[in-house]
């Protein structure tokens, strides 16, 4: 074919696009360092084991929502026998910071801010803005 220039240009463009993540991370200086999360200072154990919370916290939140809204159940008996109120603002955000915990990790893995915050408030933020 006499269009070798075009073919090679197209091929180089394709190779550039395929290897885009490598170039991007090289320029941005990205490393495999995990995001810096601010962990609760006053608590050692979450409402479920760490491995479960890391992967399936959204399932737990949905389950809590269902229990409270549909079934009128507000108490959650945790795996270690402790009883918690099923509340996002009142229980989760009492220990965790939305900005420095939820959002940081969500931004890191590119999970869009869920619609939790359409209704719920971060008490820490409310306190700050009230001042």
């Amino acid at each position: 074919m006499r269009d070798k220039v075009w073919i090679i240009a197209g091929l180089l463009l394709f190779l550039g696009l395929v290897t885009y993540p490598a170039w991007h991370d090289l320029v941005a200086g990205t490393t495999a360092k995990p995001p810096q999360l601010v962990l609760p200072a006053n608590q050692k154990q979450c409402v479920a084991p760490l491995s479960y919370m890391r992967t399936s916290h959204m399932k737990l939140l949905l389950q809590w929502r269902r229990s409270v809204v549909r079934d009128g159940q507000t108490k959650y008996v945790a795996f270690d026998g402790k009883v918690y109120n099923m509340k996002l603002s009142g229980t989760c955000l009492r220990c965790h910071s939305q900005q420095e915990f939820c959002t940081r990790c969500h931004n890191y893995v590119g999970v869009r801010t869920p619609y939790c915050w359409n209704c719920h408030l971060d008490p820490a933020q409310v306190k700050r803005s009230a001042r």
Binding site: M1, K4, I8, D25, L26, T30, T31, R54, L62
Partner: protein, 331 residues
């Protein structure tokens, strides 16, 4: 039989990946060695295939046309379907690559039951299934950039938002996840149920479908049902693309299945029919302009032929011809 053997092959690969993920000494192999080897095979193989196509001569002007060729000024010609300009070719290629124009023309031949009549009818299902699959695949591949790039680019997040438009459950149901599996199942049932298509289906046809289905299903299971640690996934992905790989302690068994099948696809792609991804751009039946009445297409392997014309011959034997009393052209 072809369908069954390819299905079993994919099952075996899945089983091996599943078992390998459980053994900690195999994790380095599955997490690091396999993806690098597969990516290298993909890049080298694809470059090799494209360069090989590029160096093949095209002896004839062979565009397949579906419209009136450009000829006399008062005959209306079709500038896209029978493109005679570079622009026309570009538009025609774009419609083919982005919208699968030729599949839109797909027809079905069937013999009617009541009498021996062969009927041709439109059949747009293949076009729709192919379009649904390919576009979903593109969106899904682009969406995966969120694991490889930090910070995550805006357009990925925007695409994710459109994909999760229906806001069903958490993690949000993504439309492309549903579409790709439905489309692949349709394409598979088309090969299995239509006797004519089944007759011409090869092992590699089924293998590609089962492989893509395996990837899509393992991905969907991982996203919605058997959750994996996304932070560890992203660390692994960034480690791979920045050439400083780390092996996370545990991600989840399904992740190894997904990664192994994707590696299989990458390594297999350049050497299979799936390389139509690059081949479509280099098809002479599509990328040549239909201008054989305007431009002489010279065969690139033509060598300068030594010719001896009649005029030269007559000049050479001029005297002898004249002596024999034969008529001469130039007198």
């Amino acid at each position: 039989m072809n369908a069954l053997t390819s299905f079993i092959l994919i099952l075996v690969v899945t089983g091996l990946a599943f078992a390998g993920g459980e053994i900690s000494s195999c994790r380095v192999l599955l997490d690091v060695v396999l993806p690098y080897a597969a990516m290298a095979a993909f890049l080298v193989g694809l470059v090799y295939r494209v360069l090989k196509w590029a160096s093949s001569p095209v002896p004839f002007n062979i565009p397949t046309t579906c419209g009136q060729q450009k000829s006399l000024s008062w005959i209306k010609s079709s500038w896209i379907e029978s493109a005679h300009t570079k622009l026309g070719v570009a538009v025609r290629m774009a419609i083919e690559i982005l919208l699968f124009r030729s599949l839109f023309r797909n027809s079905r031949a069937q013999i009617r039951q009541e009498g021996p009549r062969l009927l041709y009818s439109e059949n747009k299902w293949l076009w729709l299934g192919a379009l649904a699959f390919h576009w979903s695949m593109l969106v899904i591949v682009l969406r995966h950039l969120r694991f490889f790039v930090e910070p995550v680019p805006r357009f990925i997040l925007a695409m994710d938002a459109v994909d999760g438009f229906f806001q069903i459950s958490a993690p949000q149901l993504l439309v492309t996840d549903v579409v790709i599996i439905v489309a692949l199942l349709f394409l598979l049932q088309r090969r299995l149920t239509d006797p004519k298509v089944r007759y011409i289906s090869l092992f590699s046809d089924y293998l590609a479908l089962f492989l893509l289905l395996g990837i899509a299903i393992s991905g969907v299971l991982m996203r919605y049902f058997f959750k994996v640690d996304l932070e560890a996934v992203k660390q692994l992905a960034i480690g791979l693309v920045t050439f400083s790989p780390i092996v996370p302690a545990s991600i989840g068994a399904l992740f190894f299945v997904h990664l192994t099948l994707v590696s299989f696809l990458l390594a297999y792609l350049p050497f299979s029919k799936l390389v139509h991804m690059g081949g479509i751009f280099l098809s002479p039946t599509r990328n040549l302009p239909n201008d054989s009445r305007m431009v002489r297409h010279v065969n690139p392997w033509n060598y300068p032929v030594k010719v001896h014309t009649y005029q030269e011959w007559e000049e050479e034997f001029h005297d002898k011809i004249k002596a024999a009393g034969l008529p001469l052209e130039r007198e």
